[in-house]
Amino acid sequence: MLRGWPVSEMAAHSAHPPGFAHQFETVEQQREAGTLGMWVFLVTEILFFGGMFTSYIIYRSLHLQSFIQGSHELIVRFGATNTAVLIFSSLTMALAIRSAQTGKSKGQIIFWLILTMILGATFIGVKLRFEWYRDYVEGLIPGVSWLDGGTHTPGVKMFMCFYFFMTGLHALHMVVGLGILTVLVIMTARNKFSSQYYSPLEISGLYWHFVDIVWIFLFPLLYLIGGRYPGS
């Protein structure tokens, strides 16, 4: 916003490329600042998830049998499918950035972005339809639908809590990511990017990859250690 700026100042900056903000001296400085900002944000995110991973690991060591039992309630097949979907979405995201970098047509950038969005939405769809909905029906959601008795010891309840907190927080990040991708598609359609200026794509890519990497840690911790494998 240029409110309150002397006119001469605005004129001096009007020669700069689109997306250039007044507080920077050069385009390069702006790109570096944006990238560093995202890295610092991701460090914050690591600590954010880190508190939860730490709690999970401590409680797993305190209630090992219950956590193994809880893991058996999850279906590895769906977790594995989603892992593949997310890894593939990281590839399509990288290809979107690559297309912008090498000056490909905006149609091509949009194609990769939308493919990424479809994969992200698939992840959330699988989670909702085949995992959380099933958990709801089977009474496995603590505080919402929980069937006491049977094998559902307090430790199992604790496991399911962490399962929902952690995957829920992750899914929330996915939803935010989809929002960011929508904005990127609109920006691309409006010719905001070129091979000279594509840092919003690059920075959003960092975020998207980070969310994928969180899942790479969640999947083994929640599903694979003592999970329910086909045929078991």
Binding site: R3, G4, P6, G51
Partner: protein
């Protein structure tokens, strides 16, 4: 030097347009992306929070004049100290210097037009306001009685007060800290003017950088902890409930993983301010620049590995206690480096006792007392006796009020001419600095004695033999309260009626003093090129005392 006679002839040509009068109306403030205006938005908001927290403190001190309690039911007293703690820690001290002076000064000191992300900066303020409004609302409509620490299982299962909403308020305000810290880190890395190398940065910038590191590394952990607490309270799933296998100690570990570093969020910026004040009013280069700079960073790093000293008596393993005790002693080293270096800077300096300098000198003394009494609490054996008593209350108030608030007020006075373009009445400022110093010591020194004698904190009643010391403390609090109200009045008065300050009333070094007061919206007509170190004061004195420490060899 009298500020009223500050000469204007060495000022750059002034157009008369500055960040304050470039635009008018409430909209121009609420939608501003100017770091200077955002700093003032924070200043106004945290002043309101300070008053609310202060009123709670005054009511507590009045209550404690009588052994049986003069004002409240014990339940109400619990809500009073909780309100005081939560508001003062999360909504005043944490944002105090970083969000006001930091926002205002960082771009000016490093020679930039703004912070790296101005929109994010405004968003941080709105996030802060949302969190603060929630906390205030919950406090006024029934209150909260858990103390600022929110320990479960009391907070998760037993307290029938507004714990969830207040925790949500703190959770939200945390994101404001994170975004501010992120903005500062990127700004300091990427926005420095040509020639402004890392070791030419003012020490305030180093302190803000260290503080920002704690913001981005610590705050997310308290966020997730409060998130878990809220879920536990709403869903009763048992994460912190030992009856079903949960562990209340885990909450304490996670809580202090943030909240101990948060102590340094409050004091590091103060140390940065004091480094500026001591050099400006001794007219000398700081003694051991790089030691002071690195001590800020090492305090930030060490702060993350000492949290267990809050838990010596909670059933934590004795070996963990030993390790945390030793690590806690380490904090004394960089803290002492700073105190010694400030003192060495004073040595044979041309010291003048302007109001900001009075605050800075007060800071050094009070911080030293607060720091040394901290060592009593870092020692396992003495902590068992002192834990949970008024000794702790006195200790951390010496750090947070004697340290952080003194530095905040000192900094506010020092940069007030830059912020407002006007001088405050010097005599009143010196008087109120003295009143605050006296009132503070009268309030909190008796609390060291009370704590040593065994009076527990957080109790609404106490044995009659403690009354004399309690009355002294309450009397001190009333003096301290007056000391805080006086600057509030004359600073507001000075905005309109104070003498015009000119660009550099203190004849201080630093880029912020090379531009008009108040600065224009774009800060610098032309981005400056920095060619010399910070605190390059004239070395006339050096010829007289060639052996004085901190004197540049010429």
């Amino acid at each position: 030097m009298s500020a009223a006679t500050a000469d204007l002839h060495d000022a750059p040509a002034e157009s008369g347009v500055n960040y304050l009068n470039a635009d008018y109306g409430i909209r121009s403030w609420l939608l501003t992306f100017d770091h200077k205006r955002i700093g003032l938005l924070y200043l106004a908001s945290i002043t309101v929070m300070f008053l609310v927290g202060g009123i709670a403190a005054v009511l507590m001190r009045i209550h404690l004049v009588e052994p049986q309690g003069a004002l409240f039911e014990p339940e109400t007293y619990n809500k009073m100290f909780s309100t005081h703690g939560i508001i003062m820690v999360f909504f005043f001290l944490v944002p105090s210097i970083p969000a006001t002076l930091g926002n205002f000064l960082i771009p000016l000191m490093i020679g930039a037009r703004d912070v790296a992300f101005p929109k994010l900066n405004l968003m941080s303020w709105y996030i802060f306001i949302t969190g603060a409004a929630l906390a205030l609302l919950a406090t006024l409509s029934g209150g909260v009685d858990t103390g600022w620490t929110f320990y479960p299982p009391y907070s998760s299962h037993y307290s029938a007060t507004n714990v969830t909403i207040v925790a949500l308020g703190v959770f939200i305000a945390g994101f404001s800290s994170i975004l501010t810290g992120l903005n500062f880190i990127v700004t300091i890395h990427k926005m420095r003017a040509p020639g402004m190398t890392w070791f030419r940065l003012p020490l305030f910038i180093w302190a803000m950088y260290a503080t920002s590191l704690i913001f981005v590394l610590g705050t997310p952990v308290i966020a997730i902890t409060l998130f878990l607490l809220g879920l536990e309270r709403i869903l009763h799933v048992g994460i912190f409930d030992p009856a079903v296998g949960g562990d209340p100690l885990l909450f304490q570990h996670l809580f202090w993983f943030y909240s101990h570093p948060a102590v340094y969020i409050m004091i590091l910026p103060g140390m940065g301010v004091v480094s500026e004040l001591i050099t400006a009013f001794s007219r000398k280069k700081i003694f051991g620049y790089s030691f002071v700079a690195f001590s800020s960073l090492s305090i930030a790093v060490i702060s993350f590995i000492v949290w267990g000293h809050h838990m010596f008596v909670t059933g934590q393993s004795i070996y963990a206690g030993l390790v945390f005790s030793v690590l806690s002693f380490l904090v004394a080293i960089p803290s002492a480096v700073k105190v010694f270096n400030w003192t060495a800077t004073l040595y044979r300096g041309s010291i003048s006792y302007e109001a900001p300098m009075l605050y800075a000198l007060g800071f050094i003394g009070l911080f030293t007392i607060g720091g040394l009494t901290g060592l009593f609490l870092a020692s396992l054996a003495t902590d068992v006796h002192l834990n949970g008593t008024y000794f702790i209350v006195a200790h951390f108030h010496y750090i947070m009020v004697g340290g952080a608030v003194m530095a905040y007020l000192g900094g506010l006075h020092y940069w007030w001419p830059k912020i407002s373009g006007r001088m405050y009445p010097d005599l009143w400022a010196r008087i109120s600095a003295a009143i605050i110093f006296l009132g503070f010591n009268l309030t909190f020194f008796p609390q060291f004695m009370l704590g040593y004698l065994g009076m527990p904190r957080r109790y609404a009643v106490y044995p009659a033999e403690f009354q004399v010391l309690n009355v002294l403390s309450s009397a001190g609090a009333s003096i301290l309260g007056i000391g805080y109200v006086i600057p509030l009045i004359y600073l507001i008065w000075s905005m309109r009626y104070g003498p015009v300050a000119g660009p550099n009333p203190w004849k201080a070094t630093g880029l912020e003093w090379t531009i008009p007061s108040p600065p224009p919206t774009e800060n610098f007509a032309e981005i400056p090129v920095v060619t010399e170190d910070a605190y390059n004061y004239p070395v006339a004195e050096a010829h007289k005392y060639p052996d004085a420490p901190g004197v540049a060899r010429v």
